[in-house]
Every structure is written in C-alpha cells, then in structure tokens.
Amino acid sequence: MTKPYLQISNKLKTDREKLIASIDRLPVIDFLQSHSLILDSYFQQSFEESMVGPRIGLNKNPYAIIALGGYGREEQCVHSDVDILFLFKKHIPDEAVSLIQEIIYPLWDLGLQVGYATRTLSECIGLARKDYEILTPLLDARFICGMSLLFSELMTATREKILRKMSKKVVAWLVRTNAERHQHFGDSTYLLEPNLKEGQGGLRDYHTMLWIGRIKMNIRQARDLEYFGYLSHDEYLTVTEALSFIWNVRNRLHLQAGRKIDQLYFENQIKLAQSLNFKSTNGLQPVEKFLGTLHSKMDFMKQQHLMFLREHALTRKPRYKIKSKKNPGIESIRTKGDTLEFSSSEAILQQPGLLINIFEESTRMSLPLSAEAKRMVSEFSYLVNNRFRSSETVVESFETVLKEPAPTFNVLREMLNTGFLVKLIPEMKGIANRIQYDEYHLYPVDKHLLRTVQALKRFNSDLDESGCSLCGKIWKGLKNRKLLLWAALLHDIGKGELGKDHSSAGAVITRRILKRFGYQPKDIDTVAFLVQEHLLLVKIATRRDIHDEETAIHCARIIKKISRLQMLYLLTVADCVSTGPNAWNEWTATLLRDFFLKIANVLTKGELATQRAVKASEHKKEIVLASATSKAGKEELEKLYHYMSPRYLLYTPDEEILTDIELYRKLGDRSFVWDISRNRMVDSRTVRICAQDRPGLFSQIAGSFTLNNLDILNAQIFTWRNNLALDIFYVKPPPDKLFEKEHWERAERDFQKALAGDLDLSAKLAEKIKTRRTISPKVSKVPHRIVVDNHSSSFFTIIEVFTYDFPGLLFTVTDALYRAGLDIWVAKISTKVDQVVDVFYVRDFDGQKVDSEEQADAIKAAIDARLPKIV
C-alpha cells in the first residue's frame, strides 16, 4: 500500500476508535451519523489521492461513489455493512478493478464488512427494475464523491423509469416481503430473543414506512413523514425515540459481539442492560427492565407500521367479513370504509363514554378502529376517571368486548395498544411490558394476560391450541364465563407488586378493581379466588402425588365447588397455553386433566370435601394437639395427626381418637393391640384393634370372633397413612357372661395364631358352622346382590354386598376378598334386622383399583361362590 493510502486508512482506524470510545457520551443518532461521516471522508480522501482515478478520466467517463442502504441513510452502526456503489456513466473501464483494489481492500483489512457494486447507469436502472432487492438500497442512495451530476441522473432515472411507472407494484412488493420477513423472524415485541432489524417492530418496519414515503411522496428525510402527514407530531417524536433506543441497543450489541448481529441473544442481554445503564429497582432485574423497555419501543414501532399500512390501504384484504352494512348504533360513531371512526373530537369531549362505545361497536360489527380513531382514543383517554370506570354502561360495554367470542381480530388488544385499557384499569400499568427473565415466559405480562383471555375464548373452536377436548366441553357448558374471563384478564396483575407473592397480591388488586366496577360481592369472591389460586392445580399436580387420594381431597377442600374447579381448570390450561411452549405440552396436559378428574370426583361424589369435613378435621386437630403434655409430645401428635386419613377424622368421635392414639403408643413392635369397652346403653362391646396393616387382617379378626361365639354387629376399618390399620368392631357379648373374659382371651389367642399362620380359620369355621346349625329357614329369599363400583372414587374400587345375616358372614366375605387379591382400606358394615349391607373400599395388593370388567366380574363371582345358596 502506498503511503498516502496508509495514512488515510490509519486515519479512518483512529477516527473510528475515537468515535467508539465516545459511545457513552454521544447520542446514538449523532454516533451513527458521525460514523457515516468518518467513512465518507475516507472515500473522499481516497478518491482524491487515487492513483487509478485520474487514469479513468472523470470527464471522458464520469463516475461517482455512492452510499447505499443504511450507510446511505447515515444509520451506520459499529459493524453495519458499508454498502457502496461505483457508478459509471457509460461503461465500466478496465481500471475499475484496480480502483476497487485501491479503495475497498484497505477497508477489508480493517475488518469492515464492505459490499460494493460496480455498475453503469443503465445497468443500474435495468437491474433495479427487475429486482426490487436492488431497488430498495437505491432509495436510500447518498452521494459521497465523484461526479455529482451523475448521482442526480441516477436519482431522476430511478424516479422516472421505475417509481413513476410501477410505484404500486413496488409498494405491494415491499409490504409483502416485510410481512414474509415477520413470518420468518417473528414478532419482536413478544420474543425473548428479538431480532432488532428483521422482526416485527424492528428497524425494517421503519425502513418500510420510509421507503413507501419515498416512493409515493418523494420524501427525502425521515422528518418529512410528519410533514406529509404520515405521522402526527407526537407520533413522529415517539418514533424517533423508539428508533434511537433500538439503534442504541443494536450499536452496543455490535460492539459487544465484535461483529454485525441483529438478533438479541440471551448471552448478550445482561451485559447490554448494564451498558445501557439500567439499574435494578423494586426487585426488578436490570435486564428485565431493559427488555421491558425494548419491547415497548418495538411494540410502538410495530403498531405505527401496521397503522401506516392500514391508513394507506396497503394491508391485504381483511380476513373478517363485514357483518352488515348497518351503521353503528351510536350517533357519533360512523364507518369509514372498513373501519370505525368518531364523527368529531368535540363529541368525545361531550360524551366520554364514546371512548368505550367505539370498542363495543368494533366488537359488535367486527370492524377495526381507523388509525385516526385510535389516535383520538389515545389522546382523549385522559377523560377516563373513576366516575367513568364505575358507570354501569361502561362496565356493560367492557363485558361485551371481553366476552366477544374467539375473534379474528382482537379488540382487547386494540384497547391495550391505544393505552385505553390501562386507563380503564389503572392497576394494569404495573405490568405493561413487564418481562420475566427466564426461558419459560415468552411474553410480557400484559400480552400474556390478553393471550390467556384469547385462549379461553378459543376453547371448543377450531383455533383451540390446547389439544384438550375436555376443556372445550367444559367451556361450552360453563354458565358464568364472564367471571372466568375477568380472572384470565387479571390473574397475573399482582406481578406489578414486587417482592410479594403475585397470586395473593393479585387477588387483593382484583377485589379493588371489580368493586370499583360495581360487581356483586359473590362474583368478586369467585374472581378473586381464581386469581389467588391460579397456580394451585399446576403446582400440586407436579409436586405432589396425584395418585394419592389425599392430594385430591386437599385441593377439593380449597376449591369447594365443582363450578369453581371447572373455571380453575380452564384458567390453568389457558394460562399454560399462553405462557409459551415450555409450559404446555401433552405430558402436562395429561397430568392436569387426570388431576382435574380426580378432584371433580371428590367434589361431586365424596363427603370428604364438604364444609363439615373441613371443620371436623380442624376441630380434631385441636383435640389431638391439646392432649399433648410436652413440646416433644406435641410434635409427635402433629405427626400422628397427619397420618390420620380424612375419612377417619370425619367419622371418629373425639374421645375415640384419643383412645386410638393410646393404642398406637402401646402397639410398639407387637403385631396388634386391642381395647375392649362396654357400651352402656346397649348390651354390646366395642373392640378397637390397632395393628400393622396387612392383607387379610380384617378377615382374620372377624374369623377369630365368630369362632369364639362373638357375634359381630357392626364394623369399620380405617387405615392411617403410616400403614396402620384401625379396625373397630361392635360385638354382641357371649351369652355366657360369667366367662366373657375367657372368650376374649381365646379369641385373642386364635387371632394371634391366625396371624402367625398356625390356624386355618376357614376350615375351623366351616366345621363349627356345620355342627352348630344350618341356615335359618326364616331368612328372606331375596337373592344376594354384589355391586362393584369403579366410578364413585378415583382411588378405590367400592364393593357393596347386600345379603342376609348368617354366622361367619363377615369372615366369609372378607376372606373371599383377600383370596381375590384385594386389600381392604375402608369398610362399613351394618346390619338391620337380618338385612346386611357391607361396603368395602378395596385396592389390589399393589395399591391399584381393579377397574377392568373381567376383574369386576371375577370379584363378584368369588364372593357369590362363598355365600350360601338360597334353597
């Protein structure tokens, strides 16, 4: 490289370094412009010092060096491409190659990304006419050095030969490619790793607006967008602000990555937030604030771009159909083409209600607001005050919008975008564009809330993304959808209150909001409940054993009503679907659905989730804990209390629980202990047996009693969670009262032997019954009935045996169950005169229900075979 060139390129190098060092002092717009100027001066000096240049002869074959694209617009970020056109008037001389070597190579040596083209004027126009990818950089062309007249000629030719003739086609192409780009790069306002340039809301949206302005109105500067009425003054200012922010991010991203990069990856975000000077406040990480700001800026750009296209009728034909040509039902709102607008701004001042009316009409007529109408909503939303919010008609209008069935365009979103929703529900301000910095939440909170509402409304429709047909069914049958929709809209509103549990905080805020809107206390309770508990199902389903009945009972007791459960389930699914792909898949869907069904079963069939059951278990906890004499004792009792099953707590009287605790303490290593008490009123005994549970335990006790002439009147079985069986028998004392004690002792010995396997109870009993008596001829001839019920409980197979009493009945039936491989968890035995109803909650030895038809039939047959035949 010759000396002057070395100097020039060194100067470029040091100038750029100086500029980069000033990144924190210089407003980004100045930075980008200065960067372009530094490059300009490099080209100008190289042009002047060129050895090859003079040989080409500027006069014979004029040429010019022209900046294109971003460089042409003077938006040169640290590592942006440098796009250059060497334009020749007539032909490309042989020396062009050396010219490029002279000028471009040093730039490559400096590590700059240079794209250059060498073309003649006519080539340029010819190519641009055919390929619009070549045309668009020309729209931003800027003269750097050489023959300036040639540049003017290029501009004139572009205008006359291309734009004038096919402006419509070019614009349509621009709009289409930009839409395709959005498809490919996604909506930056939602994405956690947004693309600053190509995504929706990215810089390309701005470029597209600018290019369309250039094509249609020949505007030169961005400022002209306002001048020609494309943007209002305020909008122009906000666009500039948004642009500066995005440029600043992009510029620093380039610097950080050391290369040209437009996608904002996770790995860069934290450092960028730092370098942009975001500070952590109120528990919000700097990076969360950074992304929140970025999303809101890009969202504004996206909205502006959409509005721009819409205003210039550049969007594709709307997909929705105009329902009727009818005019809106409100005087001051009228249609304009396919949109709705206010008749005048004075009307809004006189009648602020129009601000919500227009959204209601938009819902009713399926027509969007015109860009101007949206502007007016934004500008006049200061009229929304507490009186406005508590007006009955406003609430009704809002409900209409909220309930609008799965729409093709989303009126709520328009409400959010115009800022009206935040005015209507000021509590939403805290969550607007709030980002949660993890890989789980794909969307800012406010967008997520709207998506959740949308997901609900899509249940039972073609648009449903949950893949859950049960949800559609429930949604279809749901009576009070309004409340559920409110809950969906507000469920994460507590995320604005930092440092608190967002569910509880959200429930408090929800109450405040709905009270202001004038809702009934009962309805407010329901919505607040849903907000409070919106994570309950997911949390429990993933963190607890849903195949344990108590998990379902625990939830059922919190939820209380089946209608609430239905709403909570739908909210849970909609919430997951709207969070992001990591929160919803078929696996989670299966788990949640199964859990929902189990709780539903407890709520509809069981007595265990009732108010009474909840109160009983609370009361019994007090009783149990009150019996403690020391602190250690209290801890032990608390543990024991948690072992007690819900059924046990519901049905066992206070003092008996205390007896059972005593028994449990006595049990130690023994195989069983029992306690016999006399009942005063009737001549009977209660035997409470406490033992380590094992299959067949119950039948062995029953057998031992029968063998010793102790008639069983009634019996109950409970099983504690620590696998402790508590069997309670009500027994008729032996006729021979003098030797009662001996009877019990014999029974105890027999039971012990049976447990040890040293006594064949069924053989003994068969023998005994044969010698004693045959079946009484008095017994009714109603046949036995055995019912196997697998519907009423998700956790047990329930077997009901209707029969008449005969000696050894209980042993016979329970022994049959044992031999059929069933374990009895709960039993209720009752005898009325000679009619017996025995109910058993059973599972197989693995702890599973026996729910195939064959198994059920086999059980029935097994019991039936052991019952005496009716003669």
């Binding site: 199964d594 069904l597 519907h791």
Partner: protein, 112 residues
C-alpha cells in the same frame, strides 16, 4: 463409566435432584415421558364420558458417571424416589464405552 437411567414419579424429581447434588452429581438429562408397567393406566368418568389415561406421565433421568460412583448414585435415586407405592419407577444401568466432550475433545471420565 456407567449410564444410569431412572424412571421416577414426576413429583419426586426435586428430591432426586437434591439427593444427587449431595453426592456431587452436577449434571443430568431429564425428559418428560409417558408409559406403564405394573402401574397400569386407568379411566376416569366425568359427566358420563370416559377419559382414559393409558400412559402415565413419568420423568426419565439420565446420568453418566464413573463406574465407582454408579452404586452410590443408584442408592441415592432409590432412596429419594421411593414412596413405597406402586409406580415408583425403575432404574437401569448400562455400560458406557466412551464419552467425549464436544467443545474440548476430552475423553473418558474427564468428559463427564
């Protein structure tokens, strides 16, 4: 080296992770899987319609450790995942021929 593959109940994942942390196991791969073994699927009735869960949601954990560590890992998983009820899962142990860290090319136990 051994690869240990464990199928466990979903709600036991945190316990297992914690238990493995205690013996210095830092990495694992987990996936949400569905299947059945002795714990069969089941059906639920809701409003007269039957909903069948034939494959039960489970979590699969995969860990590769040195052969000496394998027993300790298996024991930890078994302890932490055990509820005593059906469906607690299974643990499989495979011999691993070689392991290579993609970034550095390190091999064998250095790579795990």
């Amino acid at each position: 080296m051994k690869k240990i593959e464990a199928i466990i109940k979903p709600f036991k994942l945190d316990d297992v992770k914690e238990a493995l942390n205690e013996i210095g196991i830092q990495g694992m791969t987990i996936s949400e899987v569905k299947g059945y073994g002795r714990q069969k699927g089941h059906k639920e009735i809701y409003r007269g319609a039957e909903y069948v869960v034939d494959f039960i949601p489970k979590i699969k954990i995969e860990i590769v450790v040195s052969s000496e560590q394998a027993d300790a890992v298996v024991e930890k998983i078994r302890d932490a995942a055990n509820t005593g009820k059906i469906g607690d899962g299974k643990i499989f142990i495979f011999a691993v021929e070689e392991a290579i860290r993609v970034r550095t090319g390190e091999k064998g136990t250095d790579a795990i």
